[in-house]
């Protein structure tokens, strides 16, 4: 397929590379021109703007930071688009924002899919991301070959916004999951028990999770390099809390977790991996 790709950060770069490896014809654009070079070396064409990345392509994919960025990029896409183009946003933004963008594009005759991902940098490089998709099912079917180059667990969830709702639900589980593992480790340490043994024992039971396995190991190694930056998890949990506020939905665990991530950003740990929440717990209990 002919695909335009916009946004070449840690995630976007790896995803675009996998599209090229999958035999697709890819043109790329990023705000910082230097981030395009690795893709051009791999055989991508350089687009001169977001509009240009859409022109003459069947698909255009965005992977950027936040809703205003997505809206801006998609407005540029709409201005240049030819009928039949499918626009796909794989960033994590609020479901309501995704629905709004979907409506705007529909008015311009463009199909829009919200298709956020889970699996981090590792999953992006390996092409094993989980991809959760909202929008028209027909557009999803057409875009599926592209998704298959980037991910393994590809689920069509429902109408526009449903992909972002799923991603928000994912961030509830992973946010509280990281905090739960960190609290278990803080608990073990304060009791003078070896945390690595606790992890090993728990991995065999109902407390098993990928987070206990992977993030737990990184906590033991005190390797706080991202991975997934705390400020991004804070941003995602804010989407959850804003949506809960608008809907009148009681999420006490998410609220407590969001405050922990908020405190991490406020105390200068925003650029560290979200597992640095362990350090915040240790500080609160004088375990430093």
């Amino acid at each position: 397929m002919k695909i335009g790709f916009i946004g070449l950060g840690i995630m976007g770069r790896a995803m675009a590379l996998n599209l090229i490896k999958g035999g697709h014809t890819v043109s790329v654009w990023a705000r910082r021109a230097e981030s395009m070079q690795p893709l051009l070396d791999a055989g991508a064409k350089a687009a001169s703007s977001a509009s240009d990345a859409a022109q003459g392509n069947e698909l255009v994919i965005s992977m950027v930071a936040d809703a205003p960025d997505v809206a801006e990029v998609m407005r540029a896409v709409a201005a240049a688009a030819e009928p039949g183009l499918i626009a796909i946003d794989m960033s994590t933004i609020a479901p309501a924002a995704a629905r709004r963008i979907g409506e705007e594009l529909a008015a311009a005759g463009i199909d829009f899919l919200d298709a956020p991902v889970s699996g981090g940098e590792v999953g992006a490089i390996a092409g094993t991301l989980s991809i959760m998709v909202g929008g028209s099912e027909a557009a999803f079917a057409k875009a599926r070959p592209a998704f298959e180059c980037m991910g393994k667990n590809i689920v069509y969830v429902g109408a526009s916004g449903a992909g972002q709702v799923t991603k928000a639900a994912n961030q509830i589980v992973t946010g509280m999951g990281v905090l739960a593992v960190a609290e278990a480790f803080a608990f073990a340490a304060k009791n003078g028990v070896d945390r690595s043994k606790v992890r090993e024992a728990l991995l065999g039971g109902f407390a098993y999770s990928k987070i206990l396995e992977n993030h737990g190991q990184r906590m033991l190694d005190r390797n706080f390099k991202p991975g997934f930056k705390s400020w991004m998890h804070e941003k995602d949990l804010n989407i959850v809390m804003q949506t809960a506020h608008e809907l009148g939905l009681c999420l006490p665990g998410s609220a407590a977790t969001a405050q922990m991530f908020n405190a991490m950003v406020g105390s200068g740990m925003g650029e560290e991996d979200s597992i640095a929440v362990l350090k915040l717990l240790e500080r609160l209990s004088g375990q430093e």
């Binding site: 804010n238 809390m241 506020h245 809907l247 009148g248 999420l251 407590a256 908020n262 405190a263 406020g266």
Partner: protein
């Protein structure tokens, strides 16, 4: 003085009445004309027209978007108010919105104070409101006689937006105290103890507070009809938590109380009093 007033709800109506009683000439604009009722005031067709007539304009409305629309929107105050006139916004809105509106009005030399109030409907009726003011001190001194008609404790907090920050702090403390009172009442009832006596005893000790007096009594009497509609506290908690997020401030209790307010809204008590937080606990 010629005074404009927009927002004749439970708070605004008695406030407008006090200004009129003090001898000021009142001009009003209302989205729903019938809300002016029997108030003897000159009605204006638009906020801009009201702005043209007045030296000082008060707004007491609900949201940041409401104030932005009134001040800066089509036919807004900015199109009518003269250089040197003053907008006093007594609504509870986001500090950032207050700063932005003040800056836009400032470009036309129109002064603005953010002057949110605390004390509820009774405080508005009794003219005993606490008023927390953000903006230039010299502007506050010019209009202080007007604020003296409305409240007893008028404090200049700092530049524009500072009044709204103070109000956010007020809301955090107040609603957390309502939640604490509700949990205490719930524990007393579950333990088979008379809530009225607990509330009476506590009022004389270290836990005494205005919230325990007023909201505690509502809980004891199970009178959940609004004093302050809970939906407004819910709205304010959205502002407070957003402000905390922007500054990276850790607020675990406020976040937890915010979720109880979400539950209250979900159960359809948004137009009842915030003492309904007790009913949320009882439903668990």
């Amino acid at each position: 003085m010629k005074i404009g007033f927009i927002g004749l709800g439970a708070m605004g109506r008695p406030m407008a009445g006090h200004l009129q009683k003090a001898g000021h000439q009142l001009f009003v604009w209302a989205r729903r004309p019938e809300s002016v009722g029997d108030l003897a005031a000159t009605r204006c067709a638009t906020p801009a027209e009201l702005g043209r007539c007045c030296d000082v304009v008060f707004t007491v409305v609900t949201s940041s978007a409401d104030v932005e629309g009134l001040a800066l929107g089509p036919d807004g105050l900015i199109e009518g108010m003269a250089p040197g006139s003053v907008l006093i916004d007594c609504s509870t809105i986001a500090p950032d919105s207050a700063r932005e509106i003040a800056a836009r009005l400032g470009e036309k030399s129109i002064a603005m104070l953010d002057a949110p109030v605390s004390g509820g409907e009774q405080g508005a009726i009794d003219a005993t409101l606490a008023i927390m003011v953000g903006g230039e001190a010299a502007v506050l001194e010019r209009v202080r006689p007007l604020l003296d008609c409305l409240g007893q404790r008028i404090v200049h907090i700092g530049p524009n937006g500072a009044g709204q920050v103070a109000k956010a702090c007020n809301q955090m403390i107040m609603v957390a105290a309502i939640q604490a009172a509700a949990e205490a009442m719930r524990l007393a009832a579950a333990a088979g103890v008379d809530c009225a006596r607990v509330q009476q005893a506590l009022a004389g000790g270290s836990a005494a507070s205005r919230v325990l007096d007023v909201m505690g009594e509502r809980m004891v009497k199970r009178d959940f009809s609004a004093g302050i509609e809970a939906r407004l506290h819910h709205k304010d908690f959205g502002l407070v938590l957003e402000a905390a997020r922007k500054k990276g401030v850790f607020m675990p209790l406020t976040a937890a109380v915010g979720q109880q307010l979400n539950a209250l809204m979900a159960q359809g008590w948004g137009r009842d009093d915030t003492s309904s937080l007790l009913r949320v606990l009882e439903g668990v």
